[in-house]
Symmetry: C2
Subunit: 479 residues, 2 copies
């Protein structure tokens, strides 16, 4: 890496947020576009974050009894068509396989945009008795949706995700599972991503194609836009009935089953970037940092410095840290910039004077604080520092969220909020999608993100039409 690759060549976040985002993705080498239009190459730095997300979330899933499976990537057209809302929602955006080897297929196959139909098809063949229930399954894979406009991590034709699918003997059990998985996502965002959120049910017309209820987690990006960050869907028995999944109970009575599905995708990496990043690049919460600490020797040409730095590196590695050392020929300043660009939560500077004093200097990525730590204590102290960074990052993001939630009881207020400020606006609404559409038009894009069901209404009227309010919702512009 020579000077031509010098980092810090990124746009300021407040000057042009979209360009800043693109610059960070490129300079931190997280992903790039492939030769296949709209499809991404997830590069090592980006994929390593996804691996940590997978490992943390998978553990949370398994603690609730989830089992992993892998179903095919192809769906016969006749299967996709079985549930009316579903095919209507997805048909315009799937890719079709028409030829296998040298032959034209008798029936087209689409590449899965989501796998409800495949799970239902499998269960229709294999679930017969109450003893076969529940099924609580998940798969980690990629899906494909033929999007017109794409952005790294936020929207691409193929993206990585997990899709959980479950069926249950009763309505209540399925609804409970839907809400349970929604809470798993909430906890994951708070504890692992260090990202706060608002969350709730989606309005009627914002639900997943075929779902009876969709629960969402909505995070606020630094530019004030919302990002739908994970969703959990309750299907009732609509989908399973369309596929004729039935079971007999202990008394030999035939019943419908009740279904859920829930997913989180590589979009979450976009959220990480846009919530925590700053003008020097990525800032990763320690729990999702592929490298938690980079050791950077100072004046490494001086005798003993490299040896001591490598000793420290070995000690931290042995203590279980995800640690690297940069003992290349580059200048310390260059190394600092690169570590900052990559969002590595801490660096440890160690030079001749530090060695003399039997100490090192830990520099936090999030707030630049320098902490002098005795060499004897570093293997223990570093964990404490990383945990402090993790919770400080959450607190800062929570503070940002809290100070960017406004209230509007009139259309003028609403317009003003979305002109002058950025964030979520609490406002009431009659529930008519047309009213929402009008609000969206006059505010330049603000729509309901989720319903607020546990607070008193701020107004008894719809913000657009003035008719009685049926819902209060968080409104926001979104990615």
């Amino acid at each position: 890496m020579a000077k031509e690759k010098m980092v810090k060549s990124i746009t300021s976040r407040d000057e042009d947020f979209a360009q800043w985002y693109t610059d960070v993705v490129r300079e931190a080498q997280l992903c790039d576009y492939s030769s296949v239009k709209g499809c991404l190459n997830y590069l090592p730095n980006g994929y390593a974050i996804w691996e940590l997300i997978q490992s943390d979330l998978d553990r949370r899933f398994k603690e609730t009894g989830v089992e992993n499976v892998a179903l095919p990537m192809l769906i016969p057209e006749s299967l996709l068509e079985k549930e009316a809302d579903h095919i209507e929602g997805f048909a315009p955006e799937v890719a079709w396989v028409t030829h296998g080897g040298m032959e034209r297929l008798q029936e087209r196959l689409c590449i899965r945009p989501t796998s409800e139909t495949l799970f239902c098809d499998l269960w229709a063949r294999t679930v017969k008795s109450y003893r076969d229930l529940p099924k609580v399954w998940n798969q980690w894979n990629s899906v494909l949706r033929w999007e017109k406009t794409t952005r790294p991590f936020l929207r691409s034709r193929e993206f990585l995700w997990q899709e959980g699918h479950t069926i249950h003997a009763t309505y209540e059990e399925a609804e409970e599972r839907t809400i349970q998985m929604w809470h798993v996502y909430e906890d994951f965002y708070k504890e692992t991503m260090a990202i706060p959120y608002v969350s709730g049910r989606k309005a009627e017309h914002e639900k997943f194609a075929g779902a009876q209820d969709t629960y969402t987690v909505e995070a606020l990006m630094h530019d004030g836009k919302a990002l739908q960050s994970a969703t959990s869907h309750f299907f009732g028995n609509g989908f399973p009935d369309a596929f004729d999944i039935k079971y007999v109970d202990k008394n030999n009575q035939l019943h419908s089953v009740y279904e859920t599905s829930w997913g989180l995708s590589t979009r979450s990496i976009g959220a990480l970037i846009m919530v925590h990043g700053d003008d020097d690049g990525l800032v990763l919460p320690p729990h999702l940092a592929p490298v938690e600490c980079r050791v950077i020797p100072i004046a490494q040409h001086k005798e003993g410095v490299l040896d001591k730095a490598n000793e420290l590196f070995a000690e931290l590695k042995k203590a279980g840290y995800r640690v690297k050392i940069d003992d290349s020929e580059k200048s310390p300043g260059w190394k600092f910039s690169e570590q900052e660009m990559l969002g590595i939560p801490t660096r440890i500077e160690i030079g001749p004077k530090d060695i003399e004093k039997n100490q090192v200097v830990v520099v936090r990525r999030d707030n630049r604080e320098k902490i002098v730590v005795s060499m004897d204590e570093i293997a223990v102290k570093l964990r404490e520092i990383l945990e402090t960074i993790q919770s400080d990052m959450y607190d800062r993001a929570k503070d940002f969220l809290d100070t960017h939630i406004y209230t509007a009881t009139s259309l003028d207020e609403m317009k003003e909020e979305f002109t002058k400020k950025r964030g979520f606006v609490k406002a009431c609404w009659c529930g008519d999608p047309e009213c929402e559409g009008e609000v969206k038009y006059v505010t330049g894009g603000a729509a309901t993100r989720c319903l607020i069901e546990d607070e008193e209404f701020v107004s008894d009227k719809c913000i657009w039409c003035g008719k009685p309010a049926k819902h209060m919702a968080y409104w926001g512009k979104s990615y």
Copy 2:
């Protein structure tokens, strides 16, 4: 699970091996066919084995410096065509996407049968200097090949695998990496799968499409057929040159890069079944057993039995074992059969008499040995027992392999070996694919599995044509 699902309804292994295999896959609920012809549903019991394979192998990869990535599942036709041997090898067996959403695509896209072309395309755009080398990347995904005949795990249109791809500044470094990854597979088969093998380079015409050398690991199934279990390919600079990947060295001179790729798939689960399984079902090596031990209470209606069994279960869980308890209403005999069918390496029987004596009975799945262990020591002893099972399973399989390798110096001998016996035959060969073809015909399918390069030739003549021998090889029938 009622009586109609009673286990043990499988064919004897020696009576009809193919049917036995199908029965085990079905009864152990590892996978089944989906509604998409030739594509599998990997069910929880099967996928959990794959997760353990992934986790073990991924750790081995990362210890050698491998980084994980994710490239698209689609390949433009023009990209697939860039390397002549490669397109010739794969064109007849890819699936083609011709429509995206409602539109016909200008260029067809195939679903990846393997991803050399995508990696080369990415590197052609991003690798410029010696500082960008080497790239040592891997991805875990699924690929699709339009096979005509399919068998669970052994051959299916879509299958799960990992594909590693690397490029290097020198021929030697790339060749070294090819061999290094081949050895990683060997170690993995021996230590984790408890499966011995023969291994070596593939004969010229058996190499991967576009490769200069293919190194293979060949395991011997219980029916005497070989299974190609993992391969590592050295491409030289043929592939990279076709994609125009070049780098400049320190002196600003332009050079070719040298490439490797290496893969292991869900076929490995087929090997596990066919090497270790017996007439009662699956037998899993402990290192790959999703459940290492199942606790089965005896006379559980008697006071205190269930409590004590659950205490034991909790203790083992806390000690880090992958353990389950079967406290259902089914009879102990039924539970034993099921645990055996699933291949769970140990069960612990605990009944009133055991409790009285402060002991439990550990029963090994592999050899039925019953081991009485004091309740106070079980949390430690069980690990020792599992490790013993792991190494005994390898030893038994190694013994089977060693006693099923024969030598032939004449065609009659060769024919006799493959008529009367099962296994590998060492024999010499002139290197002409036509001779191999003739041998294959007269032996009913035996071909070279890999070359033997570190042993003295058993004959100086080709087993078919009698011309001077160029190679000695392991010959075998294969899956």
